[in-house]
């Protein structure tokens, strides 16, 4: 202590720090002199607010436990049938951009023009509405603009949601997280193990009649070059041929081998009709063993 505790110094610090040694009594302010029935934030008001918070929390947890967070199936970029759907609070924007006068040639208006005016207006509201009046019914322009925006947002959201449900009905599809939940429930009721969404590819199906002469045709025709020597393929681009009999009939197999399909070439020139018949008969026998 360079200075010691000499009381004749004007400012006394705590130790060698720069914190002044205070001799004020630590008494909180008295709110009785404030206008109206003011009260202290801590602890008086915070306790009440905490009770409201607890009620909200209980309601929220009940909702969470009753509903459960949705989870669909793993993302598959090649899935062309999936109907995209943003979270509900983006729906108004999503729906808005579907209208012809803000999409296509006028997309600039849709992505920049209107949102810039709306969000810009909201951001700069205090500088646009500079009057002293605070009551909303005395601010007709600001209030009516806000009401109008609110109604439009609600309208767009509802329209978007209806559109989505119609689309789902038209394509006869059910949201994936519902499908998944339903399957899990069914499996649970039957006492089976709940199917895992991530292990779908692991269900290896054994080759049926591996010694059939058709296997040699498969090798000769170079099926194995793409569909692999064990015919397990290379999913998702190249499907497995094991178990193909469950997915395609003999006629469909003949059609596929003869004319090709997707990325698969035609084998009309490589194989004779007889060989194709022999091969597809064998392939149509490739079914998963009955459980």
């Amino acid at each position: 202590m360079a200075h010691g505790h000499k009381s004749n110094e004007k400012v006394v610090y705590v130790g060698d720090s720069r914190v002044k040694k205070s001799n004020h009594p630590n008494i909180p302010p008295d709110y009785t002199s404030y206008p109206g029935k003011s009260e202290a934030f801590i602890p008086n008001f915070l306790l009440k607010e905490w009770m409201v918070g607890c009620v909200v929390l209980v309601g929220f947890l009940t909702w969470t436990i009753a509903e459960g967070a949705p989870l669909g199936y793993p993302a598959d970029p090649t899935n062309a049938a999936f109907i995209p759907m943003p979270d509900w609070y983006f729906l108004f924007l999503y729906q808005f951009l579907k209208y012809p006068w803000v999409s296509g040639d006028y997309i600039v208006l849709g992505t920049m023009g209107v949102p810039a005016v709306m969000f810009g207006g909201l951001l700069l509201a205090p500088f646009l509405d500079t009057g002293k009046e605070r009551r909303f019914y005395r601010r007709p322009i600001a209030s009516s603009l806000m009401f109008l925006s609110l109604i439009s947002c609600v309208y767009l959201t509802v329209i978007s949601w209806n559109h989505y449900t119609h689309e789902m009905e038209a394509t006869n599809s059910i949201p994936e997280h519902h499908v998944r939940e339903e399957k899990a429930r069914e499996a649970h009721e039957k006492g089976q193990e709940v199917p895992s969404a991530t292990k779908q590819e692991d269900k290896a199906v054994a080759l049926v009649d591996a010694n059939d002469p058709a296997m040699d045709i498969a090798k000769k025709a170079q099926c194995v070059t793409c569909h692999a020597a064990d015919l397990k393929g290379n999913p998702p681009q190249i499907p497995a041929l094991t178990g193909v009999g469950d997915r395609l009939s003999k006629e469909e197999l003949v059609e596929t081998v003869t004319n090709g399909r997707g990325g698969m070439p035609s084998f009309k020139g490589t194989l004779t009709a007889e060989e194709i018949d022999q091969l597809t008969t064998w392939l149509s026998k490739q079914k998963a063993p009955a459980e």
Partner: protein
Amino acid sequence: MFKSMYNWIDERLDITPLWRDVADHEVPEHVNPAHHFSAFVYCFGGLTFFITVIQILSGMFLTMYYVPDIINAYASVDYLNHKVAFGGIVRGMHHFGASLVIVMMFLHTLRVFFTGSYKAPREMNWVVGMLIFFIMLGLGFTGYLLPWDNKAYFATKVGVQIAESVPYIGPYIGEFLYGGDIVGAQTLTRFFAIHVFFLPGALIAMLAAHFLMIRKQGISGPL
């Protein structure tokens, strides 16, 4: 004992002025639902903060299991949701809390708007509040991709395509968000980073500014 502990710290750090500024302030009658029931509209800001705290806490627990890569992301969410004890509840809190925080923030914004509380001298606080609103929307958008299911994947694809249609800077925004040309491994890791580090950091800074200003200016007076 608490008092002597407080005094011990206060003597060394002089925290009383700080404490007085942060906590020891009045709650006027016109915002107190105990006196005027209609004053419950003033609760939405506090509830927004409450839900935000829930989001931060539940999110912290989610990152204990979540793996931000395209092979394992879905599997880790699946495991978290169905195998981890109370994992489903924590993920549910984070999922539904995201919606609830938007609702509460929306109601808070409407309260501030219709009571004209954004007017002078509180313009800056309104602007900061709107920035918080945009950050929250950004958190919602980036968080939607993370479970890596089909819904997440295709919604993000559409969202980024919309951002890409902005003239001149659109392709740059698209590349920034994708981290390439498609929604893929890079997109997932950068959405994770944005969702977990960048935006929450910005959010906390903005919230600090929001609360500092309201403490300095006090709640707007009665109408």
